[in-house]
């Protein structure tokens, strides 16, 4: 456990000191969501209808962006081997790395989401709820994505494969999270869908490190 904590701290430092690990996904998130009015029109009602769904899809796609490099760099330069031979369990490494990347990238994504929400004519009062839902949702997206990231780590051009493999696993989080935002927009009951989004995240955290670890052990061999 202390071993994976050391991995976690190291990854976190790397993500921060690397400078702007989050800049690219956050920029993509904002740009993608800002395309909405050009596609659906600037009509307030239309934007309010499309907004929750668009934000949620953009969040899912932005969460996929960091996945290509999540394990690949460490696999190429042998860091993963070093971790593994130092006796840290591969599950712990997968958990620590995914969590560190979520803190470095997922939290900034969640913090930006209320701005996009308001730009798409969402009610400002719901900003906190949107940020909270995005926080939980991106956690789920990152962990489900880590399995695809680990599977594609040994490949040179794995980016598209990650998307194809991961998007089906995103379905529950997509449904529950978008429903949370929908409820926030219409003033309906948002607690139920938010709890379900949370359970999707918990399920992802509980199962994904095992799948990712199996894939990483294969990649190292």
């Amino acid at each position: 456990m202390s071993g994976s904590f050391a991995v976690f701290m190291r990854e976190l430092k790397l993500a921060w000191s690397g400078g702007g690990g989050a800049a690219l996904p956050v920029g993509f998130f904002a740009a993608a969501a800002s395309m909405t009015p050009f596609a659906v029109g600037s009509d307030t009602i239309a934007l309010q209808t499309a907004g929750p769904g668009v934000i949620w899809i953009a969040l899912a796609l932005s969460s996929l962006l960091p996945m290509e490099r999540l394990f690949q760099a460490d696999l190429e330069d042998g860091t993963l081997d070093a971790y593994a031979s130092s006796g840290v369990g591969m599950e712990g490494i997968a958990l620590a790395k995914t969590l560190a990347h979520w803190i470095a990238t997922g939290i900034p994504l969640a913090l930006v989401s209320p701005i996009l929400w308001i730009m798409l004519q969402g009610a400002p009062e719901a900003s906190g709820l949107v940020a909270g839902a995005a926080l939980v949702g991106s956690l789920a997206f990152f962990f489900f994505g880590s399995v695809g990231a680990a599977l594609a780590a040994g490949m040179r051009r794995g980016g598209l494969l990650i998307a194809l493999v991961t998007l089906p696993l995103y379905v529950p989080t997509m449904i529950f999270g978008a429903a949370t935002l929908d409820a926030a927009a219409s003033g309906g009951d948002w607690l139920g869908p938010l709890m379900l989004t949370g359970s999707a995240a918990l399920f992802g955290i509980a199962t994904s490190p095992f799948g990712a670890a199996m894939a990483l052990r294969t990649a190292i061999d």
Binding site: V165, L169, L196
Partner: protein, 242 residues
């Protein structure tokens, strides 16, 4: 267990699978032909809505889409735990066949949905939507096999993906059902509701035909796979000797 270790040897598998591959295929074709004949050329009395005739091709395809995936999960499990070479080949060969059944289920389901709801695709039908997600999982699985550099790594990665998909499918299905209830549709008609006994028996025969065809085609693809692997090994050995 004994059967499994028996078939760990590709030579023994090749010797034993030759006639079953063609036999199951022929049986499948015969049973499906009977189902088509009963369903299409000799329709029953019109106590049933005519649409019920679609069941003979649609429902078995939906069953097989799940059955083929379950088969791949079993093979992947065997492959992962025991590193069983034939199990890898089995899972790999079943995937495209399963994907074809899934595609049939989706397309016929779409047509059936149009006659019922008037739209070609209904997101409120949890069953169809779940199978659509399953179809994407099939595509990802096939893509993993093609993307990996060495067959050994591809086999490991594909079996991991197959198991991950199996763990996630129930949650995906639950979420899609929840979604369907949220966006309530006017009528929830399942194909089974319309089935009476006289319709069910030809449908089961048709389903058996699909199952036999799945077995036959999977065996054929497994045999092709083993032959190719062996041919490549021989080529490489000769090149090394030159």
């Amino acid at each position: 267990m004994a059967v499994m270790s028996f078939f760990a040897n590709p030579h023994r598998f090749m010797a034993a699978s030759k006639w079953p591959a063609w036999g199951f295929t022929a049986l499948g074709v015969a049973l499906i032909a009977f189902g088509v004949w009963r369903g299409l050329l000799a329709p029953e009395d019109h106590q049933q809505d005519e649409r019920a005739r679609m069941m003979f091709v649609h429902v078995p395809a939906m069953w097989l889409s799940l059955f083929a995936y379950a088969f791949m999960v079993g093979a992947s499990l065997v492959s992962f735990v025991w590193r069983h070479a034939i199990a890898d080949v089995a899972a790999k060969s079943a995937a495209p066949i399963g994907a074809v059944f899934t595609a049939i289920g989706l397309m016929t389901g779409s047509i059936w949905g149009y006659t019922t709801w008037g739209t070609w695709w209904e997101w409120g039908d949890a069953r169809l939507v779940s199978v659509l997600v399953l179809f994407f999982i099939y595509l990802g699985y096939i893509a993993v096999w093609q993307a990996m550099e060495t067959p050994q790594k591809a086999a490991r990665a594909a079996s991991i993906l197959c198991l991950v998909g199996a763990v996630n499918l129930p949650i995906i299905h639950f979420s899609v059902e929840w979604f369907a209830v949220l966006h309530q549709q006017s009528t929830f008609m399942t194909t089974d509701d319309r089935a009476t006994a006289e319709f069910k028996i030809p449908m089961y025969i048709s389903a058996l035909g699909y199952l036999a065809l799945f077995g036959g085609l999977t065996l054929m693809n497994m045999r092709a796979e083993i032959m190719r692997t062996r041919a490549e090994m021989l080529f490489q050995r000769r090149q090394a000797a030159d």
